[in-house]
Amino acid sequence: MSDAITIAAHALREAVRRRVLLVVALLTAAFLGLYALAAFEAFASLERTSGGFIPIDERALAGGTLLGLAMFVALFLGVVLAIFLTLGAVRGDAERGLLQPLVVRPVGRTTLLIGRLLAASAVCAPYVVIVFLVATLITQAAGDFTPASLVVPAAGLALGVITVVAISLLGSTLLGTTANGIAIFMVFATGLAAGLLGQIGDALAVDSLTTASSIVSWIVPFEALYQNGLHALTADIDGAAGVIVQLGPFGGASNIGAAIWPWAVAWSAAVLALAALAFRRRDL
């Protein structure tokens, strides 16, 4: 394990020295600034226009939608970070001549992969949790809105990006840097699209769409974890506001269930094992 930690520390040092973390911190601050502006403006607008024909909890509607958006952006940024920290971990680094000096040391190839997984997870998982929690604080300050759950969405985001790190590492053993980056982004987009289609299926009562979405969610569990998080975020919003939030793009119409948690962990371990197998068989 100490070798994996050595490799992880090396990868983290690289992220710091190459100013990856600095750039991410600055751009995230910019996003959160924009989010704060939008949140305060949205709740202020509610103050001015409250009182319509349909009785609706506008504060919950705005808060749920805004936090759903924040959760999506946190996931998106976390996935971008996860991909860029790992997309060239094996073939990319081997093509650049960075990997060979490490692989010839008495360190297992699986250990090298675990080190890279630890490093990327140590950056991405706290990152998405922090972005989500800061957005929650902003939403609370702007509109006194508190989500039904903080733990489930935060944990879902964290585990979701770890699953993406695992896929990206597997891809890096099979594909060159650019091809792997494109492939993982497409997998991510496919997962999100499947989730949206599932929501449409739910709204229109089209079983085939709902089933297809559910299958995709299990195949790429980051989507299921995200859906679960969204669902938990707005679980206590009821009435007309609840219906509208559930139907919206950030509403989370489906709750995949608690089984997704152990499944996502097992799935990540299996993907990493596949990556290790592919890496062991690769001539460098």
Partner: protein
Amino acid sequence: MTAALSARGLSKRYGKTTALDAVDLEVAAGELVGLLGPNGAGKSTLVKIACGLVRPTAGDVRVAGATAGSRAARASTGYLAELFRFPGWARAEEVLALHQRLARSDGGAAEREALLARVGLEGEGGRRVETMSKGMQQRLGIAQALIGDPRLVLLDEPTSALDPGGRRTVRDLLVGLRDQGVGVLLNSHLLSEIELVCDRVVIIDGGRVVTEGRPEDLTAPGGVEVETSEGVRRLPDARREDVPRIVRELVAGGAEVYGVSVISGTLEDAYLAAVVGRDG
């Protein structure tokens, strides 16, 4: 004594391409072996199999008695790849410290300083890799390969980016390794380097060993050249032991002898005879 490197019946195929075909090769402890061959001959593949980067298709390869690629074998191996890179952001000290940890070397700062001095980089430990010349990076690569006192050192074109001074430094270093009992396999296109330092030369072509032996055994005699009052005469069939007789006969014949040179063939001649002659 266990050989530093031993390969028996080593073969490697990439699809239908045969990179190595039943190669036998041994590097004894304290022996410096030069590996020669044209591009695509299989030299780098052989070195990569020895250090565990490439898996052999057939054959048995051992490093200090352990199967090549195993953890024990890698712990006994120092390797400098032909195309390698260290992270540009890292300082020389950090590169060596990382490899010390992975090689489980407890040499600490003293080992790092000694290795940097050994390759002519003393005082450069705080320098970032990205600010180093190619030659400096190659020296750092050699220092990295020597971490943890390996029993076998595999060097793939270690002097390709070095100036003449740097090559001299590496030559001295190789001789020092041999004196310490380290087996060295040196893969290089620089025949003069190999001729100067290697105990034995192995020439491979088309994935097979085509010739091997001590440099002096591979280089054929090239005759004797005599400078006399009548000009320079070359006697292509003469040998070193013929020189006294040749001089006596010339002096007896009234010629004045100003100088005599025994001409030996070069490793380049032997290499071309083995490779081009074979191809032709």
